[in-house]
Amino acid sequence: MGVGIEVTNLNAWYGTNHTLQEINLDIPANHATALIGPSGCGKSTFVRCINRMHETNPIARVTGTILIGGLDIYADAKPVEIRRRVGMVFQRPNPFPTMSIYDNVAAGLKLNGYSNRHVLDEVVEKSLRNSALWDEVKDDLKKKSGASLSGGQQQRLCIARALAVDPEVLLMDEPASALDPVSTSKIEDLIFQLKSQYTIVIVTHNMQQAARVAEKTGFFLNGRMVEFDSTHKIFTNPSDKRTEDYITGRFG
């Protein structure tokens, strides 16, 4: 089951560049939350703070608190523990190129020490079914490399890989921006199904996409969160002038 995320006074830097300033928001459990905003506004940095990937860059720095299901992820946990609870799907599909489809999905478990074949088989099938890829690949699980799939299939493989470690939260950083419209709509259908089991945070440049999949939407601009509300309210009656300008296409 998904858990809620409470963010309080979050600031983040790359070197001297203050990329996130005083972010406060509550992301509800078992819903999809979309983050929109122009390029460079900090929304990708924000999701990378939620699974502590931001700090893998040596010049990066973070202050503030993030509670995931009540756990203070910066004070009371190690990065590797957080990343097992918070899965991530990246902008470009990034399957492990030398591994089979099966090994790609099982990688998270295997590398964290699970080796029971029976369990692995079950988890791989369940994850691939959850990411709507099972029927397309079930016959060449161990024969084909993850890199031999199409772009859209690779992205669903990456989703399966993230789901296999049984996270509570799924972060998606523009998951469909490198995909064609058919693959995009498959990913969106998937988000719709997955949010009953996971808390989903999706960064997107595509405002229609945010409107289609998310109950809540946050608008980021220049490292600050301008507005956070129900998606319906953001797109029909935003309270901030800048949000309105952005969604009506006046800038960005």
Binding site: M53, R83, A107, N112
Partner: protein, 265 residues
Amino acid sequence: MFATVLVVAPLVAIFVYLIYKGASSLSLDFFIKVPKPVGESGGGMANAIVGSGILLGVGSLIGIPIGIAGGIFLAEFGRGTKLANAVRFTADVLNGVPSIVMGIAIYSLIVVPQGHFSAFSGGVALGIMMIPTVCRTTEEMLLMVPNTVREAALALGVPNWRSVLAITVKTASPGIITGCMLAFARVAGETAPLIFTAFGNVDWSQKLSEPIAALPLQIYVYAISPYDEWHRLAWAGALVLIVLIVLAVSLVRFVTSRGVMKGAS
């Protein structure tokens, strides 16, 4: 097309010439007998073939692990640190050290204190010569692995060291193996570092503590001798050396390519 011919021509020319000069002296005896004294006909280089194998084995055991470990450090853990720059500089300088100097260095570091020539010291000389090639190709192959692959592993909650070993190194492994093969093939034909270390041996010896025969050494000794019989054996030895290197490299490629998925980009 023209470029292909240019690249392949020298190899083919050498190979054809070696077959022309050496094939007629090859016989079963060449592979199973030790050299005969001057004046007696026949005899072979069995001891040198086995000796080269032992020397290369010792060299690979030293050079490949150290080289790969160094390459992993340079590309994954030490990036941008002073220590990494020092290691990289050292590897490049080591790569430029003439092989005869390597022989003399090992002679004074191992042979003189021990008081005798030995297969071990020869293996060490070859191993040290392998390190820079293995190290730098490993580093370059690891740097070619896209960062998105590293991020994918880290985002699954895999500790960094484990992600490096199980994901990054595995992804780069075809290139790393090629680097090891290059280093192996290069030192397989080295003569100079063995003159003061392995020394050569006209008899059977597989002991690491004793002087040992090696194909390049034997070829060298026979080629500068005044006897026609020995010249013919030297040509045969050169042919065998090249064929064995090609076989060893092909075998490793074949075995290792089966563990890697096709379609990898």
